[in-house]
Homo-oligomer: 253 residues x 2
Amino acid sequence: MNGRLDVLGLGPGPREWMTIEAEAILARATDLVGYGPYIDRLPRRDGQTRHASDNRDEIARSRLALSLAAEGRDVVVVSGGDPGVFAMAAAIFEAVETGEPDWRALDIAVHPGVSAALAAAARLGAPLGHDFCIISLSDNLKPWSVIERRLRAAAEADFVMAFYNPASKARPQRIHDAFALLRQVKSGDTPVGFARAVGRPDEKLTLTTLAQADLSLVDMSTLVLVGSSETRGIDRADGGRWIYTPRSYGAGR
Amino acid sequence: MNGRLDVLGLGPGPREWMTIEAEAILARATDLVGYGPYIDRLPRRDGQTRHASDNRDEIARSRLALSLAAEGRDVVVVSGGDPGVFAMAAAIFEAVETGEPDWRALDIAVHPGVSAALAAAARLGAPLGHDFCIISLSDNLKPWSVIERRLRAAAEADFVMAFYNPASKARPQRIHDAFALLRQVKSGDTPVGFARAVGRPDEKLTLTTLAQADLSLVDMSTLVLVGSSETRGIDRADGGRWIYTPRSYGAGR
């Protein structure tokens, strides 16, 4: 069994946010496996088979990829962003753990990429310049009580926070619930940023505060950043604004 | 004033972990500003001036970069990893906030990169597959009491954790203090990973547990990952092991 399986991320937006490594691995693969919209971003190549799935069943997709690798194919599993952050790498290992014993002999490698929180932060300034938490607000795969506990802990310990999956058509209420909780613990003037479709042509950046945030702007393509007590804004000469979190904590600013 | 300033990250290890964008921006800069070891990684180019600093004074380095941009130069500030995570982007904005008013008119852009935690996680499997916290254990710029509060909060809310700056020659004790605290709150069999010099020729990966971790292996080049209660190992056929955190929480495994 000489097949291999590489799990990589395309970054959150343009090709330019992919790593040099990811581009090279994509070029040599015999099979690409991934969610359709990610596969669609990639150039077609002769001799390369594209397995674009039209649904969200990551375990079925992982089992397909592992089966192809076990047949000796050179398989690349494609994620958005970084494959290790709320993406395909964990699904692959879940499928390995519960799947065919010989999948444990496969040459599986995960390759890091740019996760959406890092790109959103870069666009807004440097809000992740100090300790932070990354939380998915989807309660598809975990109880909402766990999310509440984590939000409260992160707020009380004054972490900067980045939220993935903040709202969906099926669960539009979750971002409202999260902000209601945070508003009990954190100051209303805490800087908040929304980065929608970051790096894409329809990118939309919004800087606001915890008290004033218009949550109707938040959809599944939005990365939500909530500052710590230290996160602050700087007015730019052009009327815009950056936000950043200083490297020092509690320096009496 | 037509100068511009781009802040970018080289990724944690090899050139291949840089983004395509970062490589293009580096090629067109007139001036490179950064800590010496990062500048040393970059090829020399005609017409490009290298300002390698031999110390850790990020604010002085930021002021130099902003001054050069204000003179109309095309300046790139180079960080390791991602520039927004415990790196130069926050220092640049701190220097803007406290510096010359006309620096606020500069065209400043931050460009995301691969942060060390993402690369370390990729090498070990997918430990960051669920909610996580990123914490710097350096008490150079914040009180240790803040770090303790965050460690406790992250442990009690069962986040996966990644630690930057876990130990230094001046402060070798900090990782010991952190683990002593975590051992009070979390199970001793919690998976722990050390990724030293990740992506470099002298990379060393260690998988252990919270109870058994040998902390003498941890130095400033080590990224420390501590699992949640859900993080688990899979034995590979070759005797190695992956760790990952499932996407579902509390599914009764």
